[in-house]
Amino acid sequence: MNVAKRTFDAVIVGAGGAGLRAALQLSEAGLKTAVLTKVFPTRSHTVAAQGGVAASLGNSTEDNWHWHMYDTVKGSDWLGDQDAIEFMCKKANEVVIELEHYGMPFDRTDNGKIYQRPFGGHSMNYGQAPVMRSCAAADRTGHAMLHALYQRNVRANTQFFVEWMALDLIRDADGDVLGVTAMEMETGEVSIFHAKATIFATGGAGRIYYSSTNAFINTGDGVGMAARAGIPLEDMEFWQFHPTGVAGAGVLITEGVRGEGGILRNAQGERFMERYAPNLKDLASRDVVSRAMTTEINEGRGCGPDKDHVLLDITHLAPDTIMKRLPGIREIAIQFAGVDPIKAPIPVVPTCHYQMGGIPTNYKGQVVVPKDGNPNSPVAGFYAAGECACASVHGANRLGTNSLLDLLVFGKSAGETVVEDFQSGQLKLKPLPADAADVSLARLARLDGQTNGESVFDVGLEMRRTMQKHAGVFRFDNLLKEGVQKIGEVAERAKRTQIADKSKVWNVARMEALELDNLIEVARATMVSAEARKESRGAHVRDDAPDTAENPNGRDDANWLKHTLWYSEGNRLDYKPVNLKPLSDDVEPIALAKRTY
């Protein structure tokens, strides 16, 4: 079959914060850059981020990057790579100030500086007291960031391919990356985007879980494409659950609600967090609160007819306070829980929120894989940034506001690396293999020709239920083992999905079937990696790895201080060391310690 070809210096898949920041670097350096996106750029999921972006500007309280680095390493439960973390924390001020120059409307202090607010896990002086490190634009930080970056890209003549869905990564016999295949939704035609450099910035895959704060678009396409092309996925067992998603709907209720005095209660009306975190109570860190809630539910103290959620109570707050200090929360509760929180508590459950793992990269944004004895050998022509990538700065647990920072720092860094490699002549346009589009065409032909197949919706639902039940907040050996088998069965069913409407133009059912292929890779990676990791660390908590003197919080550094690498082919696992050595001599390695707050 004849497939149209387009040639660029670089192709970027994704126009969220990470993709747009990378694109800017390339376009401003004069590279011919194509950005592919499933939806209009400013409708990318980065828009949903409200809390802010971390940077140790020290405008509101004293601060410096050493403290930020310490908090991030500790937050990661020491699974984060200290070279990448040093790099990110050092670069934070620069990328935030840049954004200010691009016109981002940050909140201001009285003397005109960027105002900063406190956020969970961020501290001064190595854990001594909360610090004000989060830079925000009201409760629209991600929105404002994305608009500022988009405008800047328009100015720099970045070429956008809007409503194009990338299908598969193109690699040649050497394993080098030569671009992607993509489908234009308006025509249903497949094209090849041939480029010297390919950057993935496709965001997260939070839709693998039944209960998720993520919008429907977060289907892990980049992660799935990489996995199908033989790139291993790093640390996919680590997913952050946000304690307060509206039960049944998933919509996030911000931490700010507990900050303003909101209280979690079980079926007896008890303020149960007093038992789990006597000091911080309802304001303990996300993983601690999520686990406490899950324990209450598991032990039969959940609320509602199915005893499957707990309640977030703000009825004791003055209605005025709720309206003024917590805008939007009342509307969410009324729409999705059917309760007015001024009068009745909101049903909530721990809800999947953020993917810590992803496509393995180094701090330069290069995708790295084990090769010839080097665990971190760059794949020529391939780069990744943002939630789809694993740099790894978040390790086993991400701190709030560090993700928007990750997008800016590593989006820019990936862009800079591409520009350097391009200008030094290192990047070449290698010839396309004759079969460059065959994998994608075969996937489409299979889907169109399928008879007696499976419904995309049913298989997707089974996947989400399986993940929720078998790889949730708390993990049990028997459930994980069963989960591995079950998700394997779901993956088999996903190979036989069928769609009724075979039309080519704007066929949403086809898009959803193709997205499911990507979600399934992520789900398999998560389940298999989680089953294998026999310790508790950060967001991965097993009931058979409890807190002991030898293994604080169940963490087993002797055996498990290492990154997981999962290969799609054969469901194979490999491991690589965590980089405990910072990038420069400016800072000593942050020594292993028990993670307590």
Binding site: K38, V39, V47, A48, R140, H143, E186, A215
Partner: protein
């Protein structure tokens, strides 16, 4: 120019989960019955900012464009 229903359906995918949930309900109950004129109004509305649409749907802000009011009504009642 006729409006492609598949395109409009795809563009009901939004950046906020809140709206995805509202639109899921709407797509199930109302979408197939929309007249061409209504579809054009919806198409127009979908160009707006997600936070604006959400504020109109949840009633915290009044929508000032008469053309969109009918669609917002349908989105609200679900």
């Amino acid at each position: 120019m006729t409006i492609n229903r598949g395109r409009v359906r795809w563009q009901c995918r939004r950046a906020l989960l809140e709206l995805d949930l509202v639109f899921t309900r709407f797509l199930e109950r109302h979408f197939d019955r929309l007249t061409d004129d209504q579809l054009a109004d919806l198409d127009d509305l979908l160009r707006c900012d997600d936070y604006d649409i959400w504020a109109w749907v949840n009633g915290s802000k009044a929508c000032e464009n008469d053309r969109w009011k009918e669609m917002i009504g349908l989105l609200r009642q679900g």
